[in-house]
Protein backbone atom coordinates (compact mmCIF):
# COMPACT_ATOMS: atom_id res chain seq x y z
CA UNK A 1 0.00 0.00 0.00
CA UNK A 2 1.25 3.46 -1.05
CA UNK A 3 -0.10 6.22 1.19
CA UNK A 4 0.23 9.75 -0.13
CA UNK A 5 -0.84 12.88 1.71
CA UNK A 6 1.12 15.88 0.45
CA UNK A 7 0.82 19.59 -0.25
CA UNK A 8 3.02 21.70 -2.49
CA UNK A 9 2.65 25.32 -3.66
CA UNK A 10 2.87 25.33 -7.47
CA UNK A 11 3.19 28.46 -9.54
CA UNK A 12 -0.44 28.58 -10.64
CA UNK A 13 -2.27 26.80 -7.83
CA UNK A 14 -1.66 24.87 -4.63
CA UNK A 15 -1.22 21.14 -5.14
CA UNK A 16 -2.86 18.85 -2.58
CA UNK A 17 -3.25 15.10 -2.89
CA UNK A 18 -4.44 12.53 -0.41
CA UNK A 19 -4.68 9.02 -1.77
CA UNK A 20 -4.09 5.42 -0.73
CA UNK A 21 -2.91 3.29 -3.61
CA UNK A 22 -3.47 -0.46 -3.12
CA UNK A 23 -1.57 -3.08 -5.13
CA UNK A 24 -2.67 -3.05 -8.76
CA UNK A 25 -3.24 -0.24 -11.21
CA UNK A 26 -4.77 3.05 -10.15
CA UNK A 27 -5.39 5.43 -13.07
CA UNK A 28 -5.07 9.17 -12.45
CA UNK A 29 -6.80 11.17 -15.16
CA UNK A 30 -6.67 14.90 -15.66
CA UNK A 31 -6.08 17.57 -18.24
CA UNK A 32 -2.52 18.55 -19.03
CA UNK A 33 -1.22 20.96 -16.41
CA UNK A 34 -3.48 19.54 -13.71
CA UNK A 35 -0.47 18.33 -11.71
CA UNK A 36 -0.31 14.66 -12.78
CA UNK A 37 3.46 14.66 -13.29
CA UNK A 38 3.85 16.57 -10.03
CA UNK A 39 2.09 13.76 -8.17
CA UNK A 40 4.44 11.14 -9.65
CA UNK A 41 7.56 13.25 -9.08
CA UNK A 42 6.57 13.74 -5.44
CA UNK A 43 6.13 10.01 -4.95
CA UNK A 44 9.42 9.24 -6.76
CA UNK A 45 11.29 11.78 -4.62
CA UNK A 46 12.18 14.02 -7.55
CA UNK A 47 10.21 16.82 -5.85
CA UNK A 48 9.98 17.70 -2.15
CA UNK A 49 6.54 18.47 -0.75
CA UNK A 50 5.99 21.55 1.42
CA UNK A 51 4.06 19.48 3.92
CA UNK A 52 2.59 16.04 4.42
CA UNK A 53 3.99 12.55 4.23
CA UNK A 54 4.43 9.59 1.90
CA UNK A 55 4.59 5.99 3.10
CA UNK A 56 5.17 2.84 1.12
CA UNK A 57 4.25 -0.50 2.72
CA UNK A 58 4.62 1.17 6.11
CA UNK A 59 8.05 2.66 5.28
CA UNK A 60 8.19 6.42 5.73
CA UNK A 61 9.50 8.01 2.52
CA UNK A 62 9.07 11.61 3.58
CA UNK A 63 7.47 13.86 6.14
CA UNK A 64 8.36 17.18 7.75
CA UNK A 65 11.68 15.83 9.12
CA UNK A 66 12.60 12.98 6.84
CA UNK A 67 13.28 12.73 3.15
CA UNK A 68 14.38 9.54 1.44
CA UNK A 69 16.39 10.40 -1.69
CA UNK A 70 14.91 9.09 -4.96
CA UNK A 71 17.78 6.65 -5.43
CA UNK A 72 16.90 4.94 -2.14
CA UNK A 73 13.14 4.62 -2.68
CA UNK A 74 12.92 1.45 -4.77
CA UNK A 75 10.17 2.92 -6.89
CA UNK A 76 10.12 2.13 -10.61
CA UNK A 77 9.16 4.95 -12.92
CA UNK A 78 8.32 5.05 -16.61
CA UNK A 79 8.82 8.60 -17.88
CA UNK A 80 6.56 10.31 -20.39
CA UNK A 81 9.07 10.15 -23.28
CA UNK A 82 10.57 7.04 -21.62
CA UNK A 83 13.90 8.78 -20.83
CA UNK A 84 15.91 5.81 -22.10
CA UNK A 85 19.68 6.28 -22.00
CA UNK A 86 20.63 6.99 -25.62
CA UNK A 87 24.30 6.10 -25.09
CA UNK A 88 23.46 2.57 -23.90
CA UNK A 89 22.00 -0.44 -25.68
CA UNK A 90 18.75 -2.13 -24.68
CA UNK A 91 20.35 -4.63 -22.31
CA UNK A 92 22.39 -1.92 -20.56
CA UNK A 93 19.29 0.26 -20.20
CA UNK A 94 17.35 -2.59 -18.60
CA UNK A 95 20.30 -3.60 -16.43
CA UNK A 96 20.99 -0.04 -15.22
CA UNK A 97 19.06 -0.37 -11.95
CA UNK A 98 20.77 -3.69 -11.16
CA UNK A 99 24.14 -2.06 -11.77
CA UNK A 100 23.12 0.67 -9.32
CA UNK A 101 22.49 -2.03 -6.73
CA UNK A 102 25.93 -3.52 -7.24
CA UNK A 103 24.59 -6.84 -8.48
CA UNK A 104 27.26 -9.07 -10.03
CA UNK A 105 27.51 -9.04 -13.80
CA UNK A 106 26.54 -12.69 -14.22
CA UNK A 107 23.36 -12.39 -12.17
CA UNK A 108 22.63 -9.10 -13.84
CA UNK A 109 22.87 -10.69 -17.28
CA UNK A 110 20.50 -13.49 -16.24
CA UNK A 111 17.88 -11.16 -14.78
CA UNK A 112 18.06 -8.81 -17.75
CA UNK A 113 17.71 -11.75 -20.13
CA UNK A 114 14.60 -12.98 -18.26
CA UNK A 115 13.09 -9.51 -18.39
CA UNK A 116 13.83 -9.12 -22.10
CA UNK A 117 12.18 -12.51 -22.78
CA UNK A 118 9.13 -11.53 -20.79
CA UNK A 119 8.80 -8.27 -22.76
CA UNK A 120 9.66 -9.94 -26.09
CA UNK A 121 12.57 -7.65 -26.85
CA UNK A 122 15.38 -10.20 -26.49
CA UNK A 123 16.27 -9.84 -30.18
CA UNK A 124 16.99 -6.16 -29.65
CA UNK A 125 19.28 -6.58 -26.63
CA UNK A 126 22.39 -5.17 -28.39
CA UNK A 127 20.49 -2.42 -30.24
CA UNK A 128 20.90 1.22 -29.27
CA UNK A 129 17.58 2.63 -28.09
CA UNK A 130 17.47 5.25 -30.85
CA UNK A 131 16.88 2.44 -33.36
CA UNK A 132 13.79 1.09 -31.57
CA UNK A 133 10.14 1.66 -32.48
CA UNK A 134 7.88 3.56 -30.09
CA UNK A 135 6.27 0.41 -28.78
CA UNK A 136 9.62 -1.28 -28.23
CA UNK A 137 10.87 1.76 -26.33
CA UNK A 138 7.93 1.64 -24.03
CA UNK A 139 8.61 -2.02 -23.27
CA UNK A 140 12.29 -1.27 -22.57
CA UNK A 141 11.24 1.53 -20.20
CA UNK A 142 8.85 -0.77 -18.40
CA UNK A 143 11.38 -3.60 -18.24
CA UNK A 144 13.98 -1.17 -16.88
CA UNK A 145 11.58 -0.03 -14.15
CA UNK A 146 10.45 -3.55 -13.19
CA UNK A 147 13.79 -5.40 -13.24
CA UNK A 148 14.69 -3.87 -9.87
CA UNK A 149 11.59 -5.45 -8.29
CA UNK A 150 10.25 -2.05 -7.23
CA UNK A 151 7.93 -1.62 -4.27
CA UNK A 152 5.74 0.67 -6.38
CA UNK A 153 5.45 1.56 -10.06
CA UNK A 154 4.79 4.96 -11.59
CA UNK A 155 3.84 5.48 -15.25
CA UNK A 156 3.72 9.00 -16.67
CA UNK A 157 1.55 9.06 -19.81
CA UNK A 158 3.05 5.76 -21.00
CA UNK A 159 1.17 5.84 -24.31
CA UNK A 160 1.26 9.51 -25.29
CA UNK A 161 4.60 9.27 -27.09
CA UNK A 162 3.18 6.72 -29.53
CA UNK A 163 1.46 7.39 -32.83
CA UNK A 164 -2.32 6.71 -32.84
CA UNK A 165 -2.02 3.51 -34.92
CA UNK A 166 0.31 1.72 -32.52
CA UNK A 167 -1.23 3.22 -29.39
CA UNK A 168 -4.25 0.93 -29.43
CA UNK A 169 -2.18 -2.25 -29.82
CA UNK A 170 0.41 -1.19 -27.21
CA UNK A 171 -2.38 -0.28 -24.79
CA UNK A 172 -3.56 -3.87 -24.92
CA UNK A 173 -0.02 -5.18 -24.35
CA UNK A 174 0.51 -2.77 -21.45
CA UNK A 175 -2.70 -3.86 -19.83
CA UNK A 176 -1.69 -7.52 -20.08
CA UNK A 177 1.76 -6.78 -18.66
CA UNK A 178 0.47 -4.66 -15.79
CA UNK A 179 -1.87 -7.46 -14.78
CA UNK A 180 1.22 -9.42 -13.78
CA UNK A 181 2.50 -6.56 -11.58
CA UNK A 182 1.44 -6.93 -7.97
CA UNK A 183 2.71 -3.64 -6.47
CA UNK A 184 0.89 -0.32 -6.03
CA UNK A 185 0.91 1.25 -9.50
CA UNK A 186 -0.01 4.81 -10.44
CA UNK A 187 -0.68 5.43 -14.13
CA UNK A 188 -1.37 9.04 -15.08
CA UNK A 189 -2.99 9.92 -18.38
CA UNK A 190 -5.03 12.62 -20.07
CA UNK A 191 -6.44 10.10 -22.55
CA UNK A 192 -9.99 8.86 -21.92
CA UNK A 193 -9.23 5.67 -23.88
CA UNK A 194 -6.50 4.75 -21.36
CA UNK A 195 -8.98 5.23 -18.58
CA UNK A 196 -11.40 2.88 -20.29
CA UNK A 197 -8.67 0.24 -20.65
CA UNK A 198 -7.97 0.23 -16.88
CA UNK A 199 -11.46 0.61 -15.43
CA UNK A 200 -10.82 -0.99 -12.04
CA UNK A 201 -9.80 2.10 -10.13
CA UNK A 202 -9.81 5.64 -11.50
CA UNK A 203 -9.22 8.95 -9.72
CA UNK A 204 -9.42 12.43 -11.11
CA UNK A 205 -6.96 15.32 -10.72
CA UNK A 206 -8.13 18.88 -11.34
CA UNK A 207 -5.93 21.92 -10.80
CA UNK A 208 -3.82 20.19 -8.19
CA UNK A 209 -6.73 18.71 -6.32
CA UNK A 210 -7.18 14.95 -6.19
CA UNK A 211 -10.80 13.79 -6.34
CA UNK A 212 -10.77 10.23 -5.12
CA UNK A 213 -14.25 9.25 -6.14
CA UNK A 214 -14.21 9.59 -9.89
CA UNK A 215 -16.23 7.73 -12.44
Amino acid sequence: MLQVDVRLALRDFPFAAQIDVPPGVTVVVGASGAGKSTLLRLVAGLLRPDAGSIRLDGRLLCDAEHFVEPYRRDIGMVFQEYALFPHLDVAANVGFGLRARGIAASERRARVARMLERFEIADQRRVRVAALSGGQRQRVALARALVIDPAALLLDEPLSALDPQTRGRVRGELRALLETVAVPTLLVTHDQADRAAFPERVVRLERGLLLTAAS
Binding site: L46, Y71, R73, F79, A83, F85, P86, F96, G97, I148
Partner: protein, 255 residues
Protein backbone atom coordinates in the same frame (compact mmCIF):
# COMPACT_ATOMS: atom_id res chain seq x y z
CA UNK B 1 29.11 39.78 -62.00
CA UNK B 2 28.32 39.76 -58.29
CA UNK B 3 29.21 36.08 -58.17
CA UNK B 4 32.60 36.81 -59.59
CA UNK B 5 33.16 39.52 -57.00
CA UNK B 6 32.18 37.15 -54.21
CA UNK B 7 34.43 34.47 -55.62
CA UNK B 8 37.38 36.88 -55.85
CA UNK B 9 36.82 38.22 -52.34
CA UNK B 10 36.58 34.70 -50.90
CA UNK B 11 39.59 33.45 -52.82
CA UNK B 12 41.63 36.45 -51.68
CA UNK B 13 41.03 35.80 -48.00
CA UNK B 14 41.58 32.05 -48.35
CA UNK B 15 44.82 32.69 -50.20
CA UNK B 16 45.84 35.21 -47.56
CA UNK B 17 45.49 32.51 -44.90
CA UNK B 18 46.88 29.62 -46.93
CA UNK B 19 49.94 31.31 -48.45
CA UNK B 20 51.76 32.04 -45.16
CA UNK B 21 51.02 28.51 -43.94
CA UNK B 22 52.26 27.06 -47.22
CA UNK B 23 55.35 29.28 -47.02
CA UNK B 24 56.19 27.69 -43.68
CA UNK B 25 55.59 24.18 -44.99
CA UNK B 26 57.57 24.69 -48.18
CA UNK B 27 60.54 26.35 -46.55
CA UNK B 28 62.17 23.11 -45.44
CA UNK B 29 62.61 19.74 -47.09
CA UNK B 30 61.32 16.83 -44.98
CA UNK B 31 64.91 15.87 -44.17
CA UNK B 32 65.73 19.40 -43.00
CA UNK B 33 62.55 19.47 -41.00
CA UNK B 34 63.40 16.27 -39.15
CA UNK B 35 67.00 17.38 -38.61
CA UNK B 36 65.87 20.74 -37.21
CA UNK B 37 63.44 19.05 -34.84
CA UNK B 38 66.19 16.81 -33.51
CA UNK B 39 68.20 19.66 -32.06
CA UNK B 40 68.38 19.37 -28.26
CA UNK B 41 66.54 22.66 -27.77
CA UNK B 42 63.65 21.56 -30.01
CA UNK B 43 63.37 18.13 -28.41
CA UNK B 44 63.44 19.63 -24.91
CA UNK B 45 60.78 22.20 -25.80
CA UNK B 46 58.66 19.50 -27.46
CA UNK B 47 58.83 17.38 -24.31
CA UNK B 48 58.11 20.33 -22.04
CA UNK B 49 55.14 21.44 -24.13
CA UNK B 50 53.74 17.91 -24.16
CA UNK B 51 54.16 17.57 -20.40
CA UNK B 52 52.80 20.98 -19.40
CA UNK B 53 49.81 20.92 -21.75
CA UNK B 54 48.79 17.47 -20.50
CA UNK B 55 49.01 18.61 -16.87
CA UNK B 56 47.10 21.80 -17.71
CA UNK B 57 44.43 19.77 -19.44
CA UNK B 58 44.13 17.38 -16.50
CA UNK B 59 43.77 20.28 -14.05
CA UNK B 60 41.19 21.91 -16.31
CA UNK B 61 39.12 18.71 -16.55
CA UNK B 62 39.33 18.08 -12.82
CA UNK B 63 38.33 21.58 -11.72
CA UNK B 64 36.46 22.77 -14.78
CA UNK B 65 33.93 19.94 -14.97
CA UNK B 66 32.34 20.58 -11.55
CA UNK B 67 32.48 24.33 -12.15
CA UNK B 68 30.75 24.01 -15.51
CA UNK B 69 28.09 21.79 -13.94
CA UNK B 70 27.43 24.28 -11.16
CA UNK B 71 27.28 27.16 -13.65
CA UNK B 72 24.84 25.23 -15.85
CA UNK B 73 22.56 23.92 -13.13
CA UNK B 74 22.86 25.65 -9.80
CA UNK B 75 21.06 28.84 -8.97
CA UNK B 76 23.06 31.02 -6.60
CA UNK B 77 23.65 34.71 -6.04
CA UNK B 78 26.38 35.98 -8.33
CA UNK B 79 26.18 33.06 -10.74
CA UNK B 80 26.03 35.37 -13.74
CA UNK B 81 29.03 37.30 -12.46
CA UNK B 82 31.08 34.11 -11.97
CA UNK B 83 29.91 32.98 -15.39
CA UNK B 84 31.21 36.18 -16.98
CA UNK B 85 34.46 36.21 -14.98
CA UNK B 86 35.35 32.70 -16.11
CA UNK B 87 35.22 33.90 -19.72
CA UNK B 88 37.47 36.92 -19.15
CA UNK B 89 40.81 35.19 -19.87
CA UNK B 90 39.53 34.38 -23.37
CA UNK B 91 39.53 38.06 -24.31
CA UNK B 92 42.34 39.36 -22.10
CA UNK B 93 45.59 40.13 -23.99
CA UNK B 94 48.23 37.48 -23.18
CA UNK B 95 50.68 39.96 -21.67
CA UNK B 96 47.95 41.14 -19.31
CA UNK B 97 47.36 37.54 -18.26
CA UNK B 98 51.08 37.17 -17.50
CA UNK B 99 51.23 40.40 -15.54
CA UNK B 100 48.12 39.44 -13.57
CA UNK B 101 49.64 36.07 -12.69
CA UNK B 102 52.90 37.73 -11.69
CA UNK B 103 51.12 40.24 -9.45
CA UNK B 104 49.06 37.45 -7.90
CA UNK B 105 51.52 34.56 -7.53
CA UNK B 106 54.88 36.35 -7.97
CA UNK B 107 57.44 36.58 -5.20
CA UNK B 108 56.15 39.96 -4.10
CA UNK B 109 52.63 39.44 -5.44
CA UNK B 110 49.35 39.21 -3.57
CA UNK B 111 49.91 35.58 -2.58
CA UNK B 112 53.70 35.90 -2.52
CA UNK B 113 54.18 36.04 1.26
CA UNK B 114 52.03 32.97 2.12
CA UNK B 115 53.63 31.02 -0.73
CA UNK B 116 57.08 32.05 0.45
CA UNK B 117 56.19 30.92 3.97
CA UNK B 118 55.56 27.49 2.45
CA UNK B 119 58.89 27.68 0.66
CA UNK B 120 57.26 27.94 -2.77
CA UNK B 121 58.41 30.21 -5.57
CA UNK B 122 56.17 29.83 -8.60
CA UNK B 123 57.57 32.37 -11.03
CA UNK B 124 60.23 30.99 -13.38
CA UNK B 125 59.20 27.38 -12.80
CA UNK B 126 57.47 24.71 -14.84
CA UNK B 127 54.52 25.10 -12.46
CA UNK B 128 54.25 28.71 -13.63
CA UNK B 129 54.03 27.48 -17.23
CA UNK B 130 51.12 25.25 -16.23
CA UNK B 131 49.39 28.04 -14.31
CA UNK B 132 49.66 30.38 -17.30
CA UNK B 133 48.22 27.70 -19.57
CA UNK B 134 45.35 26.87 -17.22
CA UNK B 135 44.58 30.57 -16.82
CA UNK B 136 44.24 31.28 -20.52
CA UNK B 137 43.01 27.90 -21.79
CA UNK B 138 40.61 26.47 -19.20
CA UNK B 139 37.75 28.87 -20.10
CA UNK B 140 37.42 27.16 -23.47
CA UNK B 141 36.61 23.86 -21.77
CA UNK B 142 34.38 25.41 -19.12
CA UNK B 143 32.34 27.18 -21.82
CA UNK B 144 31.84 24.01 -23.82
CA UNK B 145 31.03 21.90 -20.77
CA UNK B 146 28.65 24.49 -19.34
CA UNK B 147 26.70 24.56 -22.60
CA UNK B 148 26.54 20.77 -22.76
CA UNK B 149 25.37 20.42 -19.17
CA UNK B 150 22.73 23.11 -19.65
CA UNK B 151 21.42 21.39 -22.78
CA UNK B 152 21.33 17.87 -21.28
CA UNK B 153 17.96 16.13 -20.81
CA UNK B 154 17.47 16.20 -17.05
CA UNK B 155 14.80 13.53 -17.26
CA UNK B 156 17.62 11.08 -17.98
CA UNK B 157 19.28 12.02 -14.70
CA UNK B 158 15.92 11.70 -12.94
CA UNK B 159 15.48 8.25 -14.49
CA UNK B 160 18.94 7.27 -13.26
CA UNK B 161 18.00 8.42 -9.75
CA UNK B 162 14.77 6.41 -9.66
CA UNK B 163 16.78 3.37 -10.74
CA UNK B 164 18.99 3.75 -7.67
CA UNK B 165 22.04 5.65 -8.89
CA UNK B 166 23.29 8.33 -6.50
CA UNK B 167 24.17 11.82 -7.76
CA UNK B 168 27.88 11.12 -8.32
CA UNK B 169 27.34 7.91 -10.26
CA UNK B 170 24.51 9.51 -12.23
CA UNK B 171 26.90 12.29 -13.14
CA UNK B 172 29.61 9.84 -14.19
CA UNK B 173 27.36 7.30 -15.96
CA UNK B 174 24.70 9.51 -17.52
CA UNK B 175 25.52 13.23 -17.54
CA UNK B 176 29.15 13.01 -18.64
CA UNK B 177 28.71 10.37 -21.37
CA UNK B 178 25.81 12.35 -22.85
CA UNK B 179 27.82 15.56 -22.78
CA UNK B 180 30.85 13.58 -23.97
CA UNK B 181 31.30 14.96 -27.49
CA UNK B 182 30.99 18.57 -26.30
CA UNK B 183 33.34 17.92 -23.37
CA UNK B 184 35.86 16.31 -25.69
CA UNK B 185 35.67 19.19 -28.15
CA UNK B 186 36.17 21.70 -25.33
CA UNK B 187 39.08 19.70 -23.95
CA UNK B 188 40.79 19.63 -27.35
CA UNK B 189 40.35 23.38 -27.76
CA UNK B 190 41.78 23.96 -24.30
CA UNK B 191 44.76 21.75 -25.08
CA UNK B 192 45.43 23.58 -28.33
CA UNK B 193 45.18 26.97 -26.65
CA UNK B 194 47.56 25.79 -23.92
CA UNK B 195 50.01 24.53 -26.55
CA UNK B 196 50.06 27.95 -28.22
CA UNK B 197 50.29 29.91 -24.97
CA UNK B 198 53.09 32.49 -25.18
CA UNK B 199 52.45 35.87 -23.52
CA UNK B 200 51.50 34.64 -20.08
CA UNK B 201 54.31 32.10 -20.09
CA UNK B 202 57.09 34.55 -20.98
CA UNK B 203 55.81 37.06 -18.42
CA UNK B 204 55.21 34.66 -15.54
CA UNK B 205 57.45 31.66 -16.21
CA UNK B 206 60.29 33.29 -18.12
CA UNK B 207 62.31 31.41 -20.66
CA UNK B 208 64.69 28.60 -19.75
CA UNK B 209 65.26 25.44 -21.74
CA UNK B 210 63.81 22.42 -19.94
CA UNK B 211 62.01 24.53 -17.35
CA UNK B 212 59.85 27.09 -19.09
CA UNK B 213 60.88 27.16 -22.74
CA UNK B 214 57.81 25.76 -24.50
CA UNK B 215 57.44 25.46 -28.26
CA UNK B 216 56.06 28.98 -28.89
CA UNK B 217 58.90 30.52 -26.86
CA UNK B 218 61.42 28.45 -28.75
CA UNK B 219 60.04 29.66 -32.09
CA UNK B 220 60.41 33.27 -30.98
CA UNK B 221 63.87 32.75 -29.56
CA UNK B 222 65.24 30.83 -32.52
CA UNK B 223 64.02 33.68 -34.72
CA UNK B 224 65.81 36.18 -32.48
CA UNK B 225 68.95 34.11 -32.84
CA UNK B 226 68.52 33.96 -36.60
CA UNK B 227 67.97 30.21 -36.56
CA UNK B 228 65.11 30.24 -39.02
CA UNK B 229 65.25 26.50 -39.78
CA UNK B 230 64.50 25.40 -36.21
CA UNK B 231 61.87 28.13 -35.82
CA UNK B 232 60.22 26.98 -39.04
CA UNK B 233 60.35 23.30 -38.14
CA UNK B 234 58.74 23.92 -34.75
CA UNK B 235 56.13 26.14 -36.41
CA UNK B 236 55.27 23.33 -38.81
CA UNK B 237 54.74 20.98 -35.86
CA UNK B 238 52.46 23.50 -34.20
CA UNK B 239 50.46 24.09 -37.36
CA UNK B 240 50.06 20.35 -37.79
CA UNK B 241 48.82 20.12 -34.20
CA UNK B 242 46.35 22.96 -34.80
CA UNK B 243 45.07 21.35 -37.97
CA UNK B 244 44.54 17.98 -36.29
CA UNK B 245 42.81 19.76 -33.42
CA UNK B 246 40.42 21.58 -35.70
CA UNK B 247 39.62 18.41 -37.64
CA UNK B 248 38.90 16.49 -34.44
CA UNK B 249 36.64 19.23 -33.12
CA UNK B 250 34.80 19.44 -36.44
CA UNK B 251 34.25 15.68 -36.48
CA UNK B 252 32.79 15.75 -33.00
CA UNK B 253 30.62 18.78 -33.68
CA UNK B 254 29.03 16.95 -36.58
CA UNK B 255 27.98 13.98 -34.44
Amino acid sequence: MIRAAIAIASATLVAFIVVPLAALLLRLTPAELIASLQTPAALTALGLSALTTMISLAITLLLGTPLAFVLARADFAGRRLVDALVDVPIVVPPAVAGLALLLAFGRFGLLGPPLRALGIQLSFTTAAVVLAQVFVASPFYVRAARGAFAAADQNLEAASATLGMGPLRTFALVTVPLAGPALFGGAILTWARALGEFGGTIMFAGNLSGVSQTLPLLVYLELEGGNIAVATAVSVVMIAASLVTILIVRTFERR
